[in-house]
Symmetry: C2
Subunit: 147 residues, 2 copies
DNA sequence: GTTATTTAGTACGATATCGAAGTATGTAGT
DNA sequence: ACTACATACTTCGATATCGTACTAAATAAC
């Protein structure tokens, strides 16, 4: 079982590098003033559901609340989201997408897609599928691990 | 081929999240004052080879040179690396590991290993292997893509 | 119902990351 | 050998991220 350990570290190492390189691809497509972390929030609000609270978002991205406050305030400044008071909890807030935010996310993805397809064309489709499936399992394992 | 595009985004999305969660696991093991980006440099110097120049390191991690200057200076402050003038290029420098740096990296990995083994135990070994192999291919594709 | 504790978000100060401009060395062109 | 350009690193100012301490609202204890 000794070979296993370096393998695990390779796994995280490759994942870390790809994450960084993928982020660079994204940044290149984002309009001036919008940054990767902000885009991730827009993306999450569309993929999952908007109306999330700042704290829920912070937990989803495993970042401190204060970081999310900052990220959100930037999105709000660009009118990409709308912050409303939480209807059932006076301490809390809800984050809603604006039309502009929705468009920005969709346009960015549309603009990035051809490059991704081109870049990943050497990898067979079914292998990508199986990777995503395994990565999802790993993500869930890690996710459940946080207390 | 229309299903392919969301799949690709899922791929990067999962990778991004795992990268973040993995980084959190690492940070929890690092001694006070040492940060993930600094550890990555130590790790790279051992995995690849030390004696790299700051610019080579910046390129390896796809970060700006200025960021690497800062990261390196932190490592130097903790005596984890040694900076020497480059023997063949007066503009450049070389980054060498100290014994302390080597130990810190090895101890951190040793301390992290059991948790990783435990966490990833539900995933069959051969699937991890095939993932690492595919991730490496993707990493190389992305790497070659930068101009 | 009053008090203590917990929870959601923010303010503030410290450090990390980054882009633009500066300095010094190396290289090419002639 | 001189000039022009390229390259390696640093300095500096701006923003991102993060930890600590705070405020306000909700919940629990009694």
């Amino acid at each position: 079982m000794n070979q296993t350990i370096p393998l695990y570290f390779s796994l995280f190492n490759e994942i870390g590098i790809i994450s960084q390189l993928g982020r660079a691809l994204l940044d290149a497509r984002l309009p001036e003033g919008i940054i990767g972390s902000q885009f991730s929030v827009l993306n999450h609000l569309i993929r999952v559901k908007d109306g999330r609270t700042p704290l829920e978002l912070a937990n989803s991205f495993q970042v401190p609340k204060t970081t999310m406050t900052h990220t959100i305030s930037g999105l709000q400044k660009h009118k990409l989201i709308l912050i409303k008071p939480h209807p059932e909890d006076g301490r809390s807030k809800q984050v809603w997408l604006t039309e502009k935010g929705r468009d920005l996310r969709n346009n960015t993805i549309a603009s990035l897609s051809p490059q991704l397809v081109e870049l990943l064309s050497p990898i067979p489709h079914d292998q990508i599928e199986s990777m995503v499936s395994n990565l999802t399992k790993i993500r869930i394992l890690l996710d459940n691990n946080r207390d």
